[in-house]
Symmetry: C2
Subunit: 305 residues, 2 copies
């Protein structure tokens, strides 16, 4: 018997390292590392983890290295009930990594290691995983793989959400348009949505007319705006920010959770704001993830409903 899933997240699973140094060395010199902290990350995995914590049956398709199977990260995903059956495991490759070096001025430089994710583009879209799912979320990942996965998901009439995120620059205008055409919900921060509009030379109304009936634009601590048949402004729930990384992914996971539970769009946005307010309170993208009840409580505190 095939177990159905609510939400399939497609895109990166990655290992994030936050490295504190006193200063960035100039070429041909060296510096001491003060602290290294490792976190589980990757946009698709962040979405799957938060969705699962909120009560959805989630699945994850990423390209990972062969060391991933026996890793603590994989164990955590399984323990949380994330279906990893269709992960793409690349022999003799490493799981993608992101190293963020921060100096004592809080300036940052980042190094990304693509690793196993380089094999996304030659991989088949995960048809089995897509068929099992009610909704498919295309997160930061390989543009070609996302496009092909979007086409398969569209063929099987799945609810499709899309968040190109920081990889937006990797999409040609045609590729971008073809994924946007098949999606029902488009997510992006305000820079990204504005860039999409500029790239495609459209306004929000035109963009909605070619595909996504819902466009969600996030503004960090300034909340979010939902563009649908009406325009809905959602406040953020301000908490002392420790690390904003992953807040956006958690917003998307929470929004989809509420949406799949047939909530109205305003409720979806508020629920998503509540979830992301937990994520900014701790370092890492998958730290301090709330469950459904914690989220509802924080929503009530803010909106008294």
């Amino acid at each position: 018997m095939i177990k159905k899933t609510d939400l399939l997240a497609i895109g990166h699973t990655a290992l994030d390292s936050i490295v504190l140094v006193k200063e960035f060395p100039s070429p041909n010199s060296s510096t001491l590392i003060k602290q290294i902290k490792n976190f589980d990350g990757g946009a698709a995995a962040n979405v799957a983890v938060v969705a699962s914590a909120l009560g959805l049956k989630s699945a994850l398709v990423s390209a990972v290295g062969d060391e991933f199977k026996a890793s603590n990260y994989h164990n955590k995903l399984k323990t949380m009930g994330v279906d990893t059956e269709d992960m793409i495991v690349i022999e003799n490759e490493k799981t993608p990594m992101a190293w963020v070096f921060t100096d004592s001025n809080n300036d940052q430089i980042s190094y990304f290691y693509w690793g196993a994710a380089a094999y996304f583009k030659e991989s088949e879209p995960p048809e089995r995983a897509i068929k099992k799912a009610t909704a498919v979320h295309l997160a930061t990942g390989d543009p070609c793989f996302n496009r092909r996965s979007g086409e398969v998901a569209s063929e099987f009439q799945k609810l499709i959400s899309f968040d190109p995120g920081q990889d937006l620059h990797m999409y040609s205008p045609e590729k971008l348009k073809s994924v946007i055409k098949v999606c029902n919900i488009l997510f992006g921060n305000h820079y990204e949505i504005d860039r999409i509009l500029k790239t495609l030379n459209m306004d929000i109304t035109e963009l909605r007319s070619i595909g996504p009936e819902i466009i969600v634009k996030t503004y960090g601590k300034d909340g979010s705006m939902i563009y649908a048949d009406k325009k809905i402004k959602i406040d953020s729930i301000l908490r002392t920010p420790v690390d904003p990384t992953g807040a956006g992914d958690s917003y998307r996971a929470a929004f989809l959770n509420a949406y799949l539970n047939d909530k109205d769009l305003e409720y979806c946005g508020k629920f998503a704001s509540a979830v992301s307010s937990f994520i900014v309170e701790a370092e890492g993208c998958q730290t301090n993830v709330p469950d459904y009840n914690m989220t509802i409580e924080r929503m009530k505190e803010k909106w008294d409903e």
Copy 2:
């Protein structure tokens, strides 16, 4: 029954990562990593591994993280017969790491993570390991720990060699002098030996008179000079250099191997040159390590003896 060892190496065991990038990002930007290669390293471990490959019974005392015990690196050491019984294992800490980033101009920047090695200074000198050993080599590591270990080794009248290496700047003149006083053989590259002479305001003869009867100064591809009752120049054996890292450590291990086998100093130097010529032929400090017969063959090729 206590198993005797020939050579105890004290100092760093470390994990080396060589990271290739197109360019070093400026603050608040990012770059893609083209390749990551991980190597076993750390000066003391390099010495123990090469000594063991050449036939000595070697032992290693380093401060490592609690993940080290189950690591492939540790398995390799055990398989090679390196005695790791007296390693200092620090709970909730990581094994020291060195990350060397190389850009497409072959410029390098290095990041060092001290990790478990920060606990060297509060650790007791490894008396049991020292007592079991014929010779004790003090490699790059913590100056205080090296000094205290040197004192214990001296008390038990062990043959002591010392190579402060790139950590030379961490030694105060007093600390430096006190370790040099107890050592029998002082190793350094020409920059380091010259810096020692300058710091202590001595010439080679004076330096020898306060402690080390043998001083070995290495010049990379230009060979080495042994200062003892006479001065002996040793040529290097030139091979196509791939990566010079670890060549110096292998020279020291090989020199000590020959010395402990009662060879004369010229033989010790030639044997050491032969060994280090293998190490430069491959990436990493513990790659392409020759055994005794391979070394003898290469010595014969060069010096026809």
